[in-house]
């Protein structure tokens, strides 16, 4: 092959391939993740989750309350990063990253609830969500990840049958 063509071809071919992978693999991963999230949310729908700072009146005082946590770090795929970069030119809402944030938050809350359930609690109050920045997305070209931690106090409701 003409060596003069090789450079531009590689330069164009690699991003195209990565975009294609983002479109196929990334989209599938996201779809499956969202489906799993919905299923797990359905399973845990019996739990009462609030961000109240004090315990609701129906708290069972005989069961010790405890702190529960959930963490999730979700990476963007190449397509999302690409779309976000294009969006940056025109401005406006970055839909590709929006779903990323949503997935990370839901995952973190679900993990927290699952931990609470594991320890035998049926409610969580004073839930707080926090983001962290391991990847330092701003400093790195093209990489984006969302890190969310959720934590709250698990307790038992007095009226609820376990």
């Amino acid at each position: 092959m003409d060596p003069d063509l090789l450079g531009p071809l590689c330069g164009l071919g690699c991003p195209a391939l990565l975009l294609f992978m983002g479109l196929t693999v990334g989209t599938t991963v996201e779809r499956r993740h969202k489906r799993r999230l919905s299923l797990r949310e359905e399973e845990l729908s019996g739990m009462l989750v609030t961000d109240l700072r004090t315990f609701p009146p129906d708290t069972d005082a005989s069961a010790n309350a405890r702190l529960v946590f959930g963490e999730a770090v979700i990476a963007a795929d190449y397509l999302k990063t690409f779309l976000a970069r294009i969006r940056k030119i025109f401005g406006g809402e970055m839909h590709s990253y929006l779903s990323l944030m949503e997935r990370a938050r839901r995952e973190a809350i679900l993990r927290m609830l699952e931990q609470a359930q594991e320890f035998g609690y049926d409610s969580v109050c004073n839930v707080r969500l926090e983001t962290s920045n391991i990847g330092m997305a701003q400093g790195r070209r093209g990489a984006a990840m969302v890190e969310v931690s959720a934590f709250g106090t698990a307790y038992r409701r007095s009226g609820a049958a376990l």
Partner: protein, 110 residues
Amino acid sequence: MIVVNTETIPGMQITQVKGIVQGNTVRTKHLGRDLAAGFKNLMGGELRGYTELLIEARRQALERMLSQAEQLGANAVVNVRFSTSAVTQGAAELYAYGTAVVCQPDAAPV
């Protein structure tokens, strides 16, 4: 040791406040995890290495906070808060703080 992020503990009465206790940590994963994360950034999906990193960091910060509370002679920590910051790429700083208290079961059952 009872640890909650609310100001009160159900069924317990706070009899003595010992003061603020804290614990922090800056942790990182090995190079392989960072490389794997870079690769994952092309495909999307969860970065398990970094999720683990957050869990480990939280556990360590909490442990340090609790050992301080123990030294003060407290049997519970209330109003626990966490704070994270970005020190450098690939590392997580986690800071846990709360108020160490001494509590005892309520005399009259609620």
